[in-house]
Symmetry: C2
Subunit: 300 residues, 2 copies
């Protein structure tokens, strides 16, 4: 079963203590698609400018990623420049040029409208609701969000929560949204607003899944090799949703395993610059990593 993603496609410049890459492929929909496409077919809805490098399009086309929903608009592609320092917990944004992404009103192509698994990458909740209404038959819709929308667009975000099946956000955002410092209560609060499911990402500390069967927690993938955290969250969501879509049914058991696949995909993403860590891997590498992860985190 394929998974639909609506989000940003970007050209990034990233600096970390380990080096710098300029004008490389990035964006939430890209990281998500690269990760998810290792599990199931992906349908991408996004926008780029006329300057979008053809080799970046080819990179995506070389995978099971459908680009019929990728609009080319008049103008330049969304550009982001960021730097990570020290423990690399958070990016410091040096520059953002929204460009063609600023006026993006995502249109889901007719051929995508039967999508059962949908990921609404971080965007204004108004935009996310606009997309949600275009896929009324979807079975499992997960939305991402961020501090800006929690602060500035709270009513629309609460409305969105009544119309999706899962919210994914980081720990600080979960505390901000719920007003509760305890992450379990925060996740439960989110679930009570409408979605039956909430995923809280805790960066190196792993992730928490709250659902109808209670809480499930996994540590982060233990790695000594953190090069560039860009896209970790979207790669995590890609692994999670890609596996869930491939399984066909988002049962609690499937979602638990999906959380582990998300963890593994995030680890691949951060072990090299930008999308490099997600390229050149196969499902065999993923299964091997999952085994390593279970060995390092499960009592036998």
């Amino acid at each position: 079963m394929s998974v639909l993603v609506v989000g940003s496609v970007a050209v990034d410049t990233i600096e970390t203590p380990f080096g710098k890459v300029e004008s490389v492929l990035g964006g939430s929909a890209v990281y998500f698609s690269l990760a998810a496409s290792l599990f199931s077919r992906v349908r991408l809805v996004g926008v780029v400018g006329e300057d979008f490098p053809p080799e970046y399009r080819q990179l995506l086309e070389g995978r099971p990623i459908d680009l019929d929903g990728l609009t080319v608009a008049h103008g330049r592609t969304f550009r982001w420049e960021g730097v990570y320092r020290g423990q690399m917990n958070e990016a410091e944004t040096r520059q953002v040029q929204l460009n063609v992404f600023e006026d993006f009103r995502p249109v889901v192509p007719d051929a995508y409208k039967d999508s059962e698994f949908v990921f609404l990458a971080n965007a204004s909740p108004h935009t996310q609701l606009y997309v949600r209404r275009q896929v009324p038959a979807a079975r499992f819709v997960m939305a991402d969000t961020m501090n800006l929308w929690i602060k500035m667009e709270r009513p629309a975000l609460i409305e969105l929560l009544r119309n999706v099946d899962a919210l994914i956000l980081n720990d600080a955002e979960a505390r901000q949204l719920s007003g509760d410092d305890n992450l379990l209560r925060a996740a439960r609060w989110v679930c009570e607003q409408g979605p039956g499911c909430c995923v809280i990402k805790k960066a190196e500390h792993g992730a928490l899944l709250m659902g109808p069967e209670g809480v499930f927690v996994l540590p982060g993938f233990p790695t000594e090799n953190v090069i560039d955290p860009t896209g970790a969250g979207d790669s995590f969501a890609g692994g999670l949703m890609g596996y869930a879509a491939a399984s066909g049914d988002p049962t609690p058991k499937v979602l638990r395993k999906a959380l582990a696949y998300g963890t593994v995909m995030a680890a691949f993403a951060i072990e090299d610059f930008a999308t490099v860590g997600l390229c050149g891997i196969s499902r065999r590498h993923i299964e091997q990593r999952l085994k390593e992860f279970i060995r390092a985190t499960h009592l036998t």
Copy 2:
């Protein structure tokens, strides 16, 4: 097999967002002993003043905790007063009166000298080395430490590391000691200084064990009910060392399971004020909690 602990016995006053308790039983050796005594016999070496309430002594005596090593010195018992706010990540110390603890030169009674499992609770590394030399036949010695000693007594701490089998410390301390932001590399660095084993405590995010068989990570026990974090680290160490001592052999497999028991004991400790959460529980409650923990953190 019994476990020997050398550390503080204190009278604490604690305030958290959930209330305040005054002049209650506390101290690293106390939390450790209460947790460890649910798994194996404990031998406690510490010091109290003449003001130490008899009912606190009785509380300890009511468990398999040997108090022959608890000296009563002329003066008052060590007193600590602290407050936790917000996410309760760190205590803000309001007052410390070292009192009789200030000149404490721990003497291991002859009857304890055959102890095979030893926990050197947080103290100056000089004091810890002094104790270490009194139990030359010990098989598994674990030491705790803190930021103060890492900064002020680094050479003695490095010397200590050459003479123990495991170091336990929190994430910030591990980064400070090793000079490495990555916790896996930090733990490996510690192991290379002498101990074959390093345990890094990450508070609500769980714990990491580095040993000859590589890394093992567990998340924290997912709980909505955090009342007072005092003693969580020592209760964790108590569960860990108590289980290891009971098993008789600190193999990698035993230490992994011991990490889980430590996690469970820390959860009991923080769910009520001071030592209350560690009292009134039995091994049956612990096994039940361990099952809950595995259900909430392990893929099946």
